[in-house]
Symmetry: C2
Subunit: 372 residues, 2 copies
């Protein structure tokens, strides 16, 4: 083992992702690499697709993991659906909404944005009004805004968009596996997630799913998808059908790990897993408030898996994070953008969301704050 | 462990990739996941960049692994360098040259191609003539054409392109770690590779490197890179410099594995590793010819790590591959495109390129052909 790899030690990952990985998933990751066209691997691929459908609560045939991290999933959704000049509406209340705006603009879309203060949710009424003003091909929103800890009302927005007829594109990078994501029930047409949040698998894959309407949109494109690597029509030829035509070499071992992490969630039962997230979230909030700290987001819109807490007065926040990491082997996240220097972001994602981790963190933070 | 993962067993991977992975690399892959901004991880990133520079024989600052498989590296090179209307010349003698043509065309380039029969190398004289006829912004070629087993004269072509002034873009997916790749010496401006060939790391990352001229081209673009995920200017902010601005969550564990696989090659010494590939290639060719088989590619242009051998007369080639896989746990590859049903592709990549593997394969193939 090379010297710098020997310095890696287990860290309690309570930041905005990656999260802690269970031992079974590490074991799956290190299974022998086999060929990407091997019959044993084809079965594993089929099961990963099926497990993802269960977790996304969808019948979508086109459900698979993209060979890249969550942002590659975002890119996949936009690059396959957008053609130059298409009107796109993005609902923005944090970094990941802004990122959607950048991605869509680069692809030549005419992008409008509905923007909200960071820490507040999107208001479906505004979406309703905006859709009366203009025709949009796509409306896009982030379910769990990792930069603020806000849960957007994706189901309610979906009802409004359905009436209007636009395609509905949703980011579930941080929500999938931690709170319910109901792709078909919420009328979502394109959705992407990431492995390194509530799925508790290392980073490297992005599960996506596309509705029949989205597929028809892709099939009736006037222009070729300007991205060979993420072209869904070609990816599909590898991920389903009889021939399994080679597209690119799949990240074999990462797919083993995703298979195992999905199996763990489905064996426990998604609703039990969501309950565990909620319970640990409540316990964390109680602990933080017990230390005199205040949450950023108002109660109905708080994400259980990403907790934004306001910094205590007059504190060197980077120093606290450094002490947590160095003295207590705990990672938490800093604020981003307008929230930099104003909040910490404390993750309770997947395998991290356990009682012993919450109490270990609260004890550590208490001791550091008392040292002053 | 889930049931279908328990069915995975070690396969001798002698196809066109992935290759066999050494135990140290599996061990690195399963080390605890830490944060993508963790100081321990930043050191690992820096060492990966440095190791890649050594193996690519380059001083290029902009040298890093892209978070996707080899084809994502191809996409990265083209999408950062090409703007709509740019003239691009692609030298094509197999699947991966064709793929370059597709990638560049989708990005709006005006693509010319110099095409050669599959199994024959690119002729630098033709490149010379073509560059006299037209001005090209980019000339692109595949070093080791995995679909045919041909080694293209990348160094000689580089001398010609240098005179002309075009940017030189080279695919080293299958060559890096198996034969010498001399990025600076051959005047290469943009190069990509993959982890799952001669680096003997599982698939999932694509090392790339860009010259100062390439960086200047990117910096003077008229249009934004139409691909957020692969935009090098933003990737750079994460991979180097003081601030290490978050772009996307790096595939942490895959980067551990790449670090370890590069360490193994550099500790052994690249030239010893290349010698081992050559010796095993010679031993494989001797074995195949001993069975009465004939190589596709003429001797001076044969790749040591990808051996295309003509099928014996009147054989069910898929059945032979199936028997190799099921009875002997050995994977080899079929022919692609015009070579489908005409050749097998036998890989000797990285950890696969060892004497015991060659003799095991020749013995197995001999016994199957005799049953025939």
């Amino acid at each position: 083992m090379s010297e710098s790899l020997e310095k890696i030690e287990p860290i309690l990952l309570m930041g905005p992702g990656p999260s802690c990985v269970p031992p079974e998933v590490y074991k799956a990751l290190a299974l022998p690499t086999i060929g990407h066209l091997d019959p044993v691997f084809i079965t594993i691929m089929d099961e990963v697709k099926s497990h993802l459908r269960t977790l996304f609560i969808t019948e979508n045939t086109l459900t698979l993991p993209i060979s890249g991290t969550g942002s590659a999933g975002m890119e996949t959704c936009f690059v396959n659906l957008v053609e130059p000049g298409d009107r796109v509406l993005i609902l923005i209340n944090g970094v990941f909404g802004q990122r959607m705006q950048d991605v869509a603009t680069r692809l030549g879309a005419r992008v409008d944005a509905l923007e909200y203060p960071w820490g507040e949710p999107v208001d479906p009424e505004d979406v309703f009004r905006k859709l009366k003003e203009n025709d949009y091909k796509i409306v896009a929103v982030v379910h769990a805004e990792t930069s603020t800890g806000v849960k957007n009302p994706v189901g309610a927005i979906g009802e409004i968009i359905r009436e209007h007829g636009a395609l509905y594109l949703v980011d579930t990078v941080t929500s999938l596996g931690g709170i319910e994501v109901e792709v078909d029930g919420w009328h979502i047409d394109a959705v992407y997630s990431g492995t390194q949040k509530c799925l508790s698998c290392p980073p490297g894959l992005s599960p996506v799913s596309f509705s029949q309407r989205a597929i028809e949109t892709i099939e009736s494109r006037q222009t070729k998808v300007p991205n060979w690597y993420l072209d869904l029509s070609m990816l599909l030829n590898y991920w389903q059908g009889e021939t399994r035509t080679y597209h690119h070499t799949a990240p074999i071992n990462m797919i083993y790990a995703l298979h195992q992490s999905l199996t763990l969630i489905l064996e426990t039962g998604p609703s039990s897993v969501y309950d565990r997230h909620l319970q640990q979230h409540q316990s964390l909030v109680d602990g933080l408030e017990g230390l005199g700290l205040e949450m950023l987001v108002s109660k109905p819109f708080r994400l259980p898996m990403l907790n934004a807490v306001k910094l205590p007065e007059g504190i060197d926040e980077a120093d606290v994070r450094k002490k947590l990491r160095m003295e207590h082997k705990i990672e938490i996240g800093a604020g981003l953008g307008p929230l930099a220097g104003k909040i910490w972001r404390i993750g309770l994602m997947g395998h991290t969301a356990r009682a012993e981790n919450v109490s270990r963190f609260i004890t550590a933070l208490d001791s550091i704050l008392k040292q002053g």
